[in-house]
């Protein structure tokens, strides 16, 4: 879940004024098209999001959303994967596809004058993937290799264990890449069924940002996606409530550092407390002026890495405090971290510290919205998450309105029960 988490951390929850020239159209079959005309540079970016991800998976088919995208890019009904890559390169562009937590994405960019060709290739990949049986084993092997590499990487493993502990039986506990066991059980038929179940027009949102005409892009999108018949409604699985048992789990594996993750469940995207929790996480661990960095690293040298973040998603998100430290300092570092949690639940945050945290949050948000690629993703993401096109502006205002007592209140409310994972060298 960590790659997803990091993406969302940067992506979701910071905020700033949005440029205005965005248009939205829902086709008759439920497919949504969003276009942002941006005349700045002769480039175009496309983000096609589908409501498909680990949120619909279970331990037996964990990683199937990402797996199906890995096989999709190996070729379409009309051309092989390398021919597709070559054709996109001929547009001065690139294309990729991956599965995430609440959604999966086909992402592509090109020179703006090739926007029509780029949309065509995106539609071809989304609607006519070959999903060849011959590609399944090779992609599975490659993914299992990545899972193994991830397990060998102490911080990545620690994050995976943490999400498993925090979410319990809820699907957010599932790692996005899946497990070697789950991938072994996913065959060609399962991939095809998974693709057909989710690639339905009413589950898809296409966002385009760049030096394009919105009317022309919408017309082309209607032509490419408008004839797609509506699919059968997806039966939502019954999801267990996330656990947050308040457990402390300890793992060992060969490594230099000890990883310490402490966290709790937090509001979902769009929740009224979201802005305050975001500010709270920034006060605790947003950059070099965050409390964990200042107190644990700068003043006491108890940790190398000291950060905190909150990543809202459709179901409850997580507020996570993270330390990477030398094994001999681990006990004291964990104690010091817990003291910072206590402090933020006892005392009001100062005005200067609050201002810095807000500036950091909103500035980072603006920084992340500079390229067409990111803007296309944001447009599609807010649409598919159902928070509305004015979300960035609402969010910015909400962050600016957060008071010291708001931070205190959400610290008390959300940081009461803490789940902990410690991964130490063996």
């Amino acid at each position: 879940m960590t790659p997803v988490v990091l993406a969302l951390l940067i992506a979701g929850l910071l905020a700033a004024p949005a440029a205005a020239q965005e248009t939205r159209e829902r086709l008759d079959n439920g497919f949504t098209v969003l276009v942002r005309e941006n005349p700045i540079a002769p480039v175009v970016a496309v983000s096609l999001l589908v409501k498909m991800g680990t949120r619909w998976e279970d331990p037996t088919n964990a990683g199937i959303s990402n797996f199906v995208h890995a096989v999709m890019v190996r070729g379409t009904a009309r051309r092989s994967g390398s021919e597709l890559a070559e054709a996109i390169a001929g547009l001065g562009g690139k294309l990729s596809a991956k599965g995430d937590v609440d959604d999966s994405e086909i992402s592509a960019t090109a020179l703006a004058r090739f926007w029509r060709e780029l949309l065509g290739f995106t539609a071809e990949l989304a609607l006519e993937p070959k999903l060849s049986p011959g590609e399944v084993d090779g992609e599975r092997d490659w993914l299992v290799g990545r899972i193994q590499k991830r397990r060998d990487n102490a911080p990545a493993r620690a994050f995976d264990e943490f999400y498993a502990a925090l979410y319990g039986a809820h699907p957010y506990a599932i790692p996005g890449l899946g497990t070697p066991e789950s991938l072994a059980g996913i065959d060609h038929a399962a991939l095809v069924a998974w693709y057909r179940r989710f690639y339905q027009p009413e589950r898809m949102t296409l966002a385009v940002s760049g030096q394009v005409s919105a009317a022309a892009v919408r017309a082309e999108a209607r032509r490419l996606f408008g004839a797609l018949p509506r699919g059968a409604p997806v039966t939502e699985p019954v999801r267990s409530a996330p656990g947050n048992s308040g457990e402390r789990r300890v793992f060992e594996q060969p490594a230099q550092q000890t990883q310490i993750l402490v966290g709790a469940l937090a509001p979902p995207l769009g929740h009224p407390d979201g802005a305050a929790v975001k500010v709270l996480s920034t006060v605790l661990g947003g950059g070099m002026a965050g409390r964990l960095f200042v107190e644990l690293r700068d003043k006491r040298g108890l940790a190398y890495t000291a950060a905190a973040y909150y990543d809202p998603v459709v179901d409850p998100g997580a507020i996570v405090l993270y330390l990477g430290t030398a094994p001999e300092n681990a006990t004291r570092a964990e104690e010091a971290l817990l003291r910072e949690v206590e402090r933020v639940r006892q005392d009001l945050v100062g005005a200067d510290e609050l201002d810095r945290a807000k500036g950091y949050l909103l500035g980072r948000y603006a920084m992340d919205r500079r390229t067409n690629e990111r803007r296309a993703w944001y447009l599609a993401f807010y649409e598919i998450e159902g928070v509305g096109a004015d979300y960035p502006e609402r969010y910015r205002r909400a962050v600016e309105a957060v008071t010291p007592s708001d931070v205190l209140r959400v610290a008390r409310q959300y940081l009461g029960t803490l789940t902990t994972v410690v991964l130490r060298p063996r």
Binding site: A41, G92, M288
Partner: protein, 441 residues
């Protein structure tokens, strides 16, 4: 090719230190350029891609301005500039920029160094004032000078440990020495070890004068407002004569410039280099396209022939480092030691074929689209556009930069063949080979 040069500089030198259908529309197509009375050049462009502004201070000063016995000074200054001024204690500058939600960065090359911020537009004034403060008031705190030495040594280790980076480093050394473009920008360990505050301050005072400064501001800000802020902050810096020395002529390449190096890696590395056009030379456009056709993608000639068909190398690529005083096209490959001779012969064959038969129209078109795309995505962000302007103003001209793509489009297949004949002669190249064995650095 301004882009080729930058890309190469970054790979080669690792001198960047992160601390934290239509072309451009007419309304935003041209930057405003102005020279303040003290000599500071200001380049401003309003670009509302997002609510941020990029501020970059480009200095007409780089590794080539060091005396032979003070190598590494320009880069060390780059490290020290963010460490403080009389009114800004160590650490406070990073914290300030981070508190804005912004980023800071700095880079050292042979011809230039630059100091970059990206901040939300409401911090424009603070950003301009900070850059002006750094430009004249850097305090070089002694304890920071000492602690930064470890960081620079670590940077040196990183380059030496990375065979691909170190191959390019050595190739430049072999192709340029004793010209300054052959130097290690990070300097020599012995010199850095003994480096003191007076040396840094002296170099800083000598080079950080208004006539060497180019301030580039691109972003969601009105040019008039930017101009006012810059005039207040930079206009008051006392004028002084810049003292940029002449660089020696670049050496010609040939069989005397071939070096083998024993390295710990199991695979071998091969690097070949041809002297080509410097920036501001008419040939740069054709050399840029030729380099792309030879080796910048899986479909390039070197990849298709030497890697795919002959299977003599695991990887192969070509790069063009175009600098103010000289240019170099490099071809680098990773391969089995037993294939070194055959791979070199095959690379020369590929080049010979271009000289004899030229390139196809499809190849020319493809190279053009690659260049266009790389340029278009560069200028998509405020800092990317600012960088192309700063680079152009300090090493060639802003007008050349603005005309770059249309000039590139005008290059014919015959012109590409002509530069292949002019610069890529059979014997006139430098060579470095890394061969497995006991390391002999």
């Amino acid at each position: 090719m301004a882009r080729a040069a930058l890309g190469l500089a970054a790979i080669l030198l690792l001198a960047g230190c992160a601390t934290a259908g239509a072309m451009r529309p007419a309304a935003t197509a041209t930057p405003m350029r102005e020279v303040l009375p003290n000599g500071v050049v200001l380049i401003v462009q309003e670009q509302r891609a997002s609510e941020v502004v990029a501020l970059q201070l480009w200095m007409r000063m780089g590794g080539r301005d060091e005396a032979a016995e003070e190598l590494g000074l320009a880069h060390y200054i780059e490290h020290m500039l963010f460490k403080g001024t009389p009114t800004r204690p160590p650490g406070s500058i990073d914290t300030l920029i981070e508190g804005f939600g912004g980023t800071s960065n700095a880079f050292t090359s042979y011809d230039t160094t630059h100091y970059d911020f990206v901040v939300p537009t409401r911090h424009l004034r603070a950003g301009v004032e900070l850059l002006a403060d750094l430009a004249v008031n850097a305090s070089f705190p002694p304890e920071e000078i000492e602690s930064e030495k470890k960081v620079v040594f670590e940077e040196m280790n990183l380059i030496e440990d990375d065979p691909e980076k170190f191959l390019l480093r050595r190739l430049y050394e072999v192709a340029y020495s004793p010209h300054p473009y052959g130097r290690a920008l990070l300097g020599r360990r012995e010199f850095i070890q003994k480096l003191d505050r007076d040396q840094l301050r002296q170099f800083y005072r000598k080079h950080f004068v208004p006539k060497n400064m180019v301030l580039v501001v691109v972003g969601a800000a009105a040019p008039a407002q930017v101009r006012q802020l810059v005039e207040a902050a930079f206009g008051r810096i006392q004028a002084a004569a810049p003292s940029r020395g002449e660089t020696p002529p670049v050496p010609t390449l040939g069989p005397a410039r071939r070096v083998d190096v024993s390295r710990a890696e199991k695979q071998a590395y091969l690097g070949l280099a041809w002297r080509t056009a410097p920036l501001a030379n008419e040939d740069v456009y054709a050399v840029d396209l030729l380099t792309s056709i030879l080796g910048d993608s899986p479909t390039s000639r070197l990849n298709q022939t030497v890697r795919e068909q002959l299977r003599l190398v695991a990887t192969i690529e070509a790069g063009y480092g175009a600098f103010e005083k000289a240019g170099l096209v490099t071809v680098t490959a990773r391969l089995e030691p037993a294939d070194l001779d055959r791979a070199e012969a095959a690379i020369l064959d590929v080049i010979r074929k271009v000289r004899a038969d030229g390139v196809t129209e499809a190849e020319r078109q493809r190279a053009l689209i690659t260049a266009e795309s790389s340029y278009a995505f560069d200028i998509e962000t405020a800092e990317g556009l600012a960088k192309t302007y700063g680079q152009a103003e300090t090493t060639w001209t802003l007008d050349n930069e603005l005309a770059y793509l249309s000039r590139l489009r005008g290059i014919t297949a015959a012109q590409i063949q002509a530069v292949a004949r002019k610069y890529f002669r059979d014997e006139d190249y430098a060579r470095v080979r890394f061969v497995p064995g006991a390391p002999s650095r």
